[in-house]
């Protein structure tokens, strides 16, 4: 019998306590943030959309290697002597850029915002910003191209490198031929054809 009334007492008292708490809470200020109109101050370390400052990028591929989900895709073209990358050819810290970055895409559909790509960057050109509103209707729109070269210039640079390579090869071939000639002079006859073949090979490659 005692337990019976204790039961009732406990039920009533605990319910009363609970109701008092919820009633008190009614007069507290609401914690809701009405998002589009009202925004939180984001901390400065906020990790959201990546940004790449192409002025400083030297195309070293470190970030792409660090990425656990391989969402960074970098394609580079070697600089031909006489040509400069960007306007100055150096980063803001004075590092020389030796590569044209023809393609620097980050797929934000894959990105997991882990910040692993930020730390290995030698020029600190890739970093996370506080932009978090970039949803799109198409998944392909989440593929961001950071390279400042247009496809045409990229193709041009590629062609320049190819031409340069061809020229180099020609020079090499010439040098080789000359060397062959010299050696042929020294040792005539059968070796000649072989060296020729070799120079052909270098040309092809």
């Amino acid at each position: 019998m005692k337990a019976y009334f204790k039961h009732i007492y406990q039920a009533v008292s605990s319910i009363m306590i609970g109701m008092a708490i919820t009633f008190k809470q009614m007069f507290h200020k609401s914690v809701t943030i009405q998002y589009p109109e009202q925004r939180l101050q984001l901390p400065e370390r906020e990790r959201n959309r990546l940004f790449v400052n192409m002025e400083d990028c030297i195309g070293c591929d470190q970030c792409a290697k660090a990425c656990p989900v391989s969402c960074i895709d970098i394609e580079t073209v070697k600089v031909v002597p006489g040509d400069v990358v960007g306007k100055t050819g150096v980063t803001s810290q004075g590092k020389k850029k030796a590569l044209h970055v023809t393609n620097f895409t980050i797929d934000f559909a894959k990105c997991c915002y882990c910040q692993l790509c930020v730390f290995p960057c030698p020029t600190e050109c890739i970093y996370m910003t506080d932009v978090f509103e970039f949803s799109t209707y198409k998944r392909s729109d989440l593929l961001y191209q950071f390279s400042d070269l247009t496809p045409e210039t990229a193709a041009e640079k590629k062609k320049m490198l190819a031409d340069f390579n061809v020229e180099q090869d020609k020079k090499k071939a010439l040098a080789a031929e000359e060397a062959a000639k010299k050696s042929a002079e020294a040792k005539p006859a059968e070796n000649k054809s072989e060296t020729k073949k070799e120079s052909d090979n270098t040309k092809e490659s």
Partner: protein
């Protein structure tokens, strides 16, 4: 009168069910409202963590561990990182250890708040759920301030941390501790000591000590059964041996030791202890550089290590085999919820459907951790 034909009813609870905490599927066999058999079906959230890890370098695995038990990423990272550090055999600066402990304990509070809140929600009380989430939000804001992310931090690195903490963080954390103590009491009064809640959870899902130990149950679920076993005390990793705190066990204040209520209340007690640890750590945190011990490239020698830590949900272990290359040869996660969930069939037989929900909630499972 002829005998009425009766048969057992099979009901599919999940994968889409409000209280299976994710995409767990329970095939319940019912006799009326009484459950005669529970068959858990896992794997709806399987993301091949272990297979992925074999193709990653050691630091790259850390974001994947975040996603295992996504409610306590810090503890996952800590366990994994400790295992890798054991392989590498490197010394960690004191400051790093302190910050790790602070983070892990804050994470424990956040995780327990979700556990308590969702448990209330399972019981049908929605208001405590939101109160808990309000407080959890404050913890997440602290994390956001330190590492920029709210849920998946990638904060604890092999050999260090991604960022040092700021003085602002310390003051904010102290403020939070001051704010949070009365809030624990409030939630306890609103939910834990509510008669209806006690009725719903006391003497439900009895998990006796010997069964619990034998089934590899760990964490608050084990301590709810009265086993005073906390890896932070028994097998101290990091610098937990420097702090003074109590291991909370289910006391049987209501119900009996080993039931849902005791499993639940252990979490409420533990939050208090976590606050104590954080306070001590904040007061005695030394100066130092958090990046000093971070290796340039993580390339341990061939070997293996197994480290187990006390994550908020229980014993979280990482078994890492290295073959001397940049990628781990094998990473096996001994996930807590996986082991805890395995006793569900045993302890929910003979209870009602509503109790199965309560039993499931009292384990505080996270499907990301179970399915990996």
């Amino acid at each position: 009168m002829a005998e009425l034909r009766t048969e057992e009813l099979t009901i599919n609870m999940g994968p889409q069910h409000p209280s299976t905490h994710g995409v767990l599927r329970l095939v319940l066999t019912l006799n009326g409202e009484i459950v005669t058999n529970v068959k858990p079906v896992l794997g709806y959230l399987h993301r091949c963590f272990e297979k992925h890890a074999e193709a990653m370098t050691y630091p790259q695995v850390i974001p994947y561990t975040d996603r295992m038990d996504y409610l306590n990423s810090m503890s996952n990272e800590l366990a994994y990182v400790l295992a890798v550090e054991k392989l590498l055999g490197i010394e960690i600066p004191e400051r790093v250890e302190y910050i790790r402990v602070i983070m892990a304990e804050l994470q424990r509070i956040a995780s327990h708040l979700v556990a308590i809140g969702t448990y209330g929600n399972d019981a049908g009380a929605f208001t405590p759920f939101l109160y808990c989430f309000m407080d959890r939000e404050k913890v997440l804001e602290l994390f956001e301030m330190v590492c920029g992310a709210r849920l998946l931090y990638n904060y604890i690195w092999v050999g260090g941390l991604s960022h040092d903490i700021t003085p602002e963080f310390i003051t904010k954390t102290k403020e939070f501790i001051k704010y949070f103590r009365p809030r624990i009491k409030q939630v306890n009064n609103l939910l834990s000591y509510n008669k209806i809640f006690i009725e719903r959870t006391a003497n439900i899902g009895m998990l006796p000590q010997d069964v619990a130990v034998n089934a590899g149950v760990s964490g608050p679920t084990l301590r709810g059964s009265g086993v005073k076993y906390d890896l932070r005390k028994e097998d101290p990793y990091s610098i937990y041996n420097k702090f003074d705190f109590d291991v909370c066990v289910g006391t049987g204040e209501y119900g009996t030791v080993g039931d849902c209520w005791n499993r639940y209340i252990v979490r409420a007690y533990e939050m208090e202890q976590s606050l104590r640890i954080i306070e001590q750590a904040l007061d005695s945190i030394p100066e130092g550089d958090v990046h000093s011990a971070v290796p340039k490239r993580v390339k341990p020698v061939a070997g293996e290590s197994y480290v187990r830590t006390e994550s908020p949900k229980g014993e979280l272990g990482y078994y890492i085999i290295s073959d001397g290359s940049l990628n781990p040869y094998r990473v096996k996660a001994r996930s807590t919820s996986f082991c805890n969930l395995s006793v569900i069939n045993q302890i929910s037989r003979g209870h009602m459907i509503a109790d199965v929900v309560m039993i499931l909630g009292s384990f505080d499972i996270v499907l990301g951790c179970i399915d990996r």
